[in-house]
Amino acid sequence: MQQVSEIIDYCQTLYEDLSFAAAREWKAAEQGRKVVGYMPVYVPRELIHAGGMLPLGILGGGEDLEVIHGDAYYQSYICRIPRSTVELAVSKRLDFVDGMLFPSICDVIRNLSGMWKLMYPELYVRYFDVPQNYKDEIGGNYYVHELQELRQGLEGICGRTISDDDIRRSIAVYNENRRLVNAVYDFRAREPWKAPSWHVYLLMRAGMILPVEAHSQLLQDYLAAAAADDQPMRDNCRVILQGMFCEQPPLNLIKSIEFAGCYIVDDDCMLVGRWLLRAVPAAGDPIANLARAFLKYSTETAAKYEPDGSRKGRYLIEAVRQRGAEGVIFAAPSFCDPALLDRPMLANALTRENIPHISFKYAENSGQMQPIREQAGTFADSIKLWSEA
């Protein structure tokens, strides 16, 4: 059995490699293989996989990428993820990518899709819109057509028809991956001392670059290794991290929160792996099944409209209850409109339920962690020492 440290070292190597060597090697291993990049927050990776292609999550350049060219594309008041993503592109780190998908998340990522079209007119670039109306006959019909258009576009990249059976097989593969991702999250919530959040984070990041089958195997190996790992339980405060669904936090930020006395028992990083909340039926019309899964049981986040005002923030309150969390840390990237505009509504919902919360901002390259450690530590102390419970 592999050791936890071996698995995490491997994931960290993948995480730190800004040349995407693993994806390049996958592509080079067989002639005709294609890679399709996607940005946060959600794309149906099943369709890419069904075309025999590798979905590659592009989550910005992280803390170690020196942005030289990217800053010339953006004003100072725009978040960092688009500028470091442009940096990845102009520095040719993404020159092996055959197509790019820009999901509907905010105006910045939306406009980045147009910039990509201007920069790479020969590349397949798609702004992937999703319905904000969740009725089958309205948003559902629209989304089915959008998925069919995406499927046709992807067929253009892989050079073959993507059949319904191909998609059904891929749905089954991703169902298994989602099951394992959720199992890791559940394990961490149950025994957070055995699954530090920076481990879980790196494991999930590996899923952005590895073929899904390899990622599922990695998750299985980790679950077995972590369960056998004897780690001391600490009297930490159980918190949920909220607002990190697009620009990713530096790894040190996650570590700092844990070092400050918090167990992170849930988060919204890399939602693509947990977007669909149940297994998608593998039988029947696969496009209709993916559409229905999106409409009826997908996660709630700032990028989605909540039609029922009385339900705004309920998902977070329910997560607090289910995970046994004692508080919520709102950590949003600077200039992130969706997270920062959602925050007051979520904070009000938590306040009404007497759930403690704090907030701060970060950038993917934030280097100074002392203030965050102090803030998180004070929050944890305030809950542990002075809460009514």
Partner: protein, 434 residues
């Protein structure tokens, strides 16, 4: 340099006075809605469905316009500070914060009376993601009914049948039933056709006004003056007889100006000789609007086309008109085609067209700190326009209604340098020609 005139001396043309009366009347109706037994909907400028609301006798209140009003009246700074104290981040849209701060202070309209709580939030989400969050925030405060019209983004540079069908379906199954329920009025498609017919008539003259800037000298400023010209058609008057009359009157005035060889009317009167012609991208700053404009007209700079005057509908570039023969489809096409709902390559193509058709000397971006819908990608747009037209581009940064982000000295400095650059380029061109 001419000295600034006091507000009492500001020059007003008849069309301006008419528009002022229209706006005052609308605020009067809004603030007396309960007394008059009228229902009120809050909605947005881009994707504004005024003709549809009129079918149900529902008044149209536009939070963006309220924020602009408060910005121009120098009230927004305090409102934004209040909203930030309420938990809104300093990083987010200042329209949103000015609006929420305004609500917290009793939502006093320009006529000094409180605005009513809307009966409906009509969230037509067009070209700006923040709109969706804005109305969720308003719903959180008002607790009133909200109906969403999701307008897909033209990511591939065109409106597809699927997008149009989706919008029409929402209009039929979501928006119209909600309006019927709230107003108690049954939907009459012929009434909508009549309203759309009037919209199209106003749009013809509106486009004529915009295109009058192709003249030399331009009889209008299509940015600073343009924000007044878009007023009726972008807000609560599209589809009304008043809007038809306003644009007829405006066209007459401009025809006279062209005949007389005159330039635009500015707050300080007739503009002196036209020296520079620009295309401007991005919304204006509202808190120092007149000072900002003065930096242009005092130097003989006129804006001959602007993208901001397309944010509530694009009528000139590809000839869209509201069409009474296909009423709901036409409303869908209108929503889909608003400027910021078009992808960046389309926006660049439009600007290039304006640069060439209006014989502009340069392209200027007013980058708005709190408007990512406009601002993200503008630096690349600048480079594309320079590359395609060979004309110099420049960049300034301000904000919509947050006075902290308007630095007059910096803006003036940049503009003066830009004007000098154009002079040098002209001299260089003249030398080469010699």
């Amino acid at each position: 340099m001419s000295a600034a005139k006091s507000p009492a001396e500001v020059v007003k043309e008849p069309s301006m006075l008419k528009q002022k009366a229209m706006i005052a009347d609308n605020y009067d109706k809004l603030t007396r809605a309960k007394e008059l037994g009228l229902k009120v909907s809050s909605t947005y400028v881009p994707g504004n469905l005024n003709e549809l609301l009129m079918c149900f006798g529902i008044l149209n209140n536009l939070p963006e316009i309220n924020a602009i009003q408060n910005g121009m009246r120098k009230l927004s700074g305090k409102l934004i500070a209040d909203a930030e104290k309420m938990g809104l981040s300093e990083d987010v849209c200042t329209y949103v914060k000015a609006d929420l701060g305004h609500m917290a202070k009793g939502a006093i309209a320009p006529n000094g009376k409180p605005m009513p709580v809307p009966d409906l939030l009509l969230l037509s989400y067009t070209g700006c993601f923040t709109f969706m969050k804005w109305f969720e925030l308003l719903r959180d405060q008002y607790g009133c009914r909200t109906v969403m019209l999701h307008v897909p983004y033209e990511g591939d540079g065109k409106a597809t049948k699927n997008m149009r069908d989706y919008v029409v379906k929402q209009l039929k199954d979501e928006v119209i039933p909600a309006l019927e329920e709230i107003s108690g009025v049954k939907f009459d498609i012929d009434r909508l056709r009549e309203n759309l017919r009037r919209s199209a008539a106003a749009e013809e003259n509106f486009v004529w006004v915009l295109e009058s800037a192709k003249n030399r000298p331009s009889p209008i400023d299509a940015y600073f003056g343009g924000v007044f010209y878009i007023g009726p058609i972008f807000t609560a008057f599209r589809g009304t007889d008043e809007a038809v009359e306003y644009y007829r009157l405006l066209r007459q005035e401009i025809e006279q100006r062209i005949a007389a060889g005159k330039g635009p009317v500015t707050p300080d009167g007739e503009m002196a000789a036209e020296k520079y012609r620009f295309v401007v991208e991005g919304p204006p700053n509202w808190t120092s609007f007149r000072d900002f404009w003065r930096m242009f007209y005092e130097e003989g700079a006129v804006v001959v086309a602007s993208t901001y005057t397309k944010v509530g509908g694009v009528y000139d570039y590809d000839g869209f008109r509201h069409d009474p023969e296909r009423p709901l489809e036409s409303l869908a096409d209108y929503c889909l085609g608003c400027y910021t709902n078009r992808n960046l390559p389309m926006r660049v193509d439009m600007i290039q067209h304006y640069m060439e058709a209006y014989q502009a000397d340069g392209f200027l971006v007013n980058s708005i700190k709190s408007c990512n819908s406009f601002s993200a990608g503008q630096l690349m747009m600048m480079r594309e326009i320079e590359k395609r037209t060979g004309k110099p581009a420049a960049f300034i940064e301000t904000d919509l209604v947050d006075p902290r982000y308007f630095s007059p000295a910096n803006v003036k400095n940049r503009l003066e340098s830009y004007f000098q650059m154009i002079d040098q380029k002209r001299r260089g061109g003249a030398h080469r020609a010699a």
